[in-house]
Amino acid sequence: MTVLTLARLFARRSGGDAATVLLPAVAFAVVTMCTTVVVGGVFAFFTLDGPNGTTYRFLALLALVLLVVPLVSLSGAAARLSARRRDTRLSSLRLLGASSALVSALTVLESTAVAFVGAAAGAAASLAALPLFGLLHFDGRPLGGAIWPPVWVFFAVVVTIVALSAISAAVGLRAVVLTPLGVRTRVVSPRARWIRALVVVLVLAAAVAATSSLDSFAQIGGLIAVIAVLLAAFAAVLGVLGVVGPLVLKGFGRRWLKRAERPAQLIAARGVLDDVKAAWRQVGSLAMVSFVAVFTGIGVAFTQTTGSNDPATRLLATDIRTGVVLTLVMSFAMVACAVGVNQAAAILDRRALYASLDRIGMPVDVMDAARRRAVMAPLLVVTIGSALAAALVLFPLTGYTLLLRPAGLAIIAACLACGIGLVRLGLAVTRPVLVRLVTAGVVDPT
């Protein structure tokens, strides 16, 4: 009863907090909608039974693997922001003598409520989105009704997302329960440990060995085994990227720090270096997506250039490009949402600091530029770096297709540019939160 009463009191909106309810709710809605559509897509691809049926199924699973990382990242960001909104008040409650159980129950209840509202809205939105995705043509015909997953998928997605949010909220607020006076006192930045390099080498070696022995796997378990091995190798590469990526960002961060002359550059570079893993988590999912997009984009363009007369092959090439564009757009959309949510959380975390920076005369534009740069610089490194890496890997083909079929590559490049713009938009959306907070920070009637 006490929990419900307090939850009702906490649910009352207070000025600047609107964004902290709205953003996670929207993020949960996007996650739910994207997950439902992606699962629907996988179901639809499994109904394609033409000569390329197996390839379509493999590609559907590949897209699913690629989209899992940004989905999880966005879901986590939404849950963290949803929980953070209550940090201060919960800390106060704790100091007033509320039990750990009460604080935890309130946190989980409120975050779960926001997640449920968002997820339910997302499920409703997917009802409107699925028919649109059903218009997409694959294997020579529209996906149509095949994109509708079974009803239980809708419920399963909502329940999973709400449950993940509840767990994330409980874990995220452990600090409030343990140390109600908790102050940010980070001494040293979390280090991207070099010892992991060994694990990276071992995992890569295993992946290369497994993909080099596909014949053996085919003999043992047939096509299913081959697909499983390929997906596992792909997931392993994603995991490796998660280890190598922060090290690469760290290298860039040091260069940015060395060259920084203006306050925004200095703060942004230090911000990236302060928690290079967090910087990577925010944009890292785009590394593989960008690499795969350019890799397949060039491959498809090359296939079309060589003018294969096999209609099934030509159809498959076009469908792969459509799939790549879809995966790119969805990944960027989720990263943009995650950036928006993470930034709103970061601004709220540092409300007193931003108010004090305003007092010492730092223009809001400088504060905004610093946080913008701290996101966009890693994003550009990851996206453009991965795209260039793919182009380099396929170097002779890249030049060839650039000369003979530039349109195919231009579509991928345009998608990447739009995606980067989308993330920039995600940042712009949170600027009013910063401006409001700085303005509110100076109002103190004592």
């Binding site: 002359e261 306050p263 703060i267 270096l273 010492i360 730092m362 100076v442 109002v443």
Partner: protein
Amino acid sequence: MQNLIEARSLFKDFGTTRALRGVDLAVAAGESVAVMGPSGCGKTTLLHTLAGIELPGAGQVLLHRDGGAVDVAALNDRQRSELRRTAFGFVFQQGLLLPELTAGENVALPLLLIGRARADAEAEASRLLAALGIGDKAAARLGELSGGQQQRVAIARAQAVQPSVVFADEPTGALDSATSAEVMTALLASTVGAGRALIVVTHDAGVAARCDRTLHMRDGVIVETAVRGSAAAAGAAS
């Protein structure tokens, strides 16, 4: 002594609450003034209004500079922000420094904001930190510093642009009494000792006792002024 900053008949309302009721105040170069009073008496509002963070509902805040007096309240938001960057220094209760920057970079920040080259700004920051006895901490992260050391970094930051006036809002509020005394010594030496005006909002009578004057506020009015070394209160401030 020449007045550096003056408040004339300051009024300030927050909704239906009147936070300042005709406050008059003048602070001279090399003078330190403590502002005391119960919570909600208007002392922080007075500090914010003097610093151009808040605009008064009525009255004037005059900053005397080489080129003449500037009415802070008549400036627009951008101009007041520039004034805070160039003419004022601030020390807050919790330091409120950027945790991702080193101590030296935090001190250099105001200089970077006014366009100084980074190497130049960091050299000046090192000099200021050394003057406050923590020259060896320039490359340290804030989490590696004690509360007192962090406040010294904040004091160094407040001196970076060589401001005319330094505003301190409960600068020792989060420190123990011994550290508080040390920080106050550093603050006075680097402000009043360098010919600047220092205005301190504090609840600590020990801190106030080290300032040249102590203003006691109640309900938005200065009700009493005590001058150091003088046992007699001067009554309501003029």
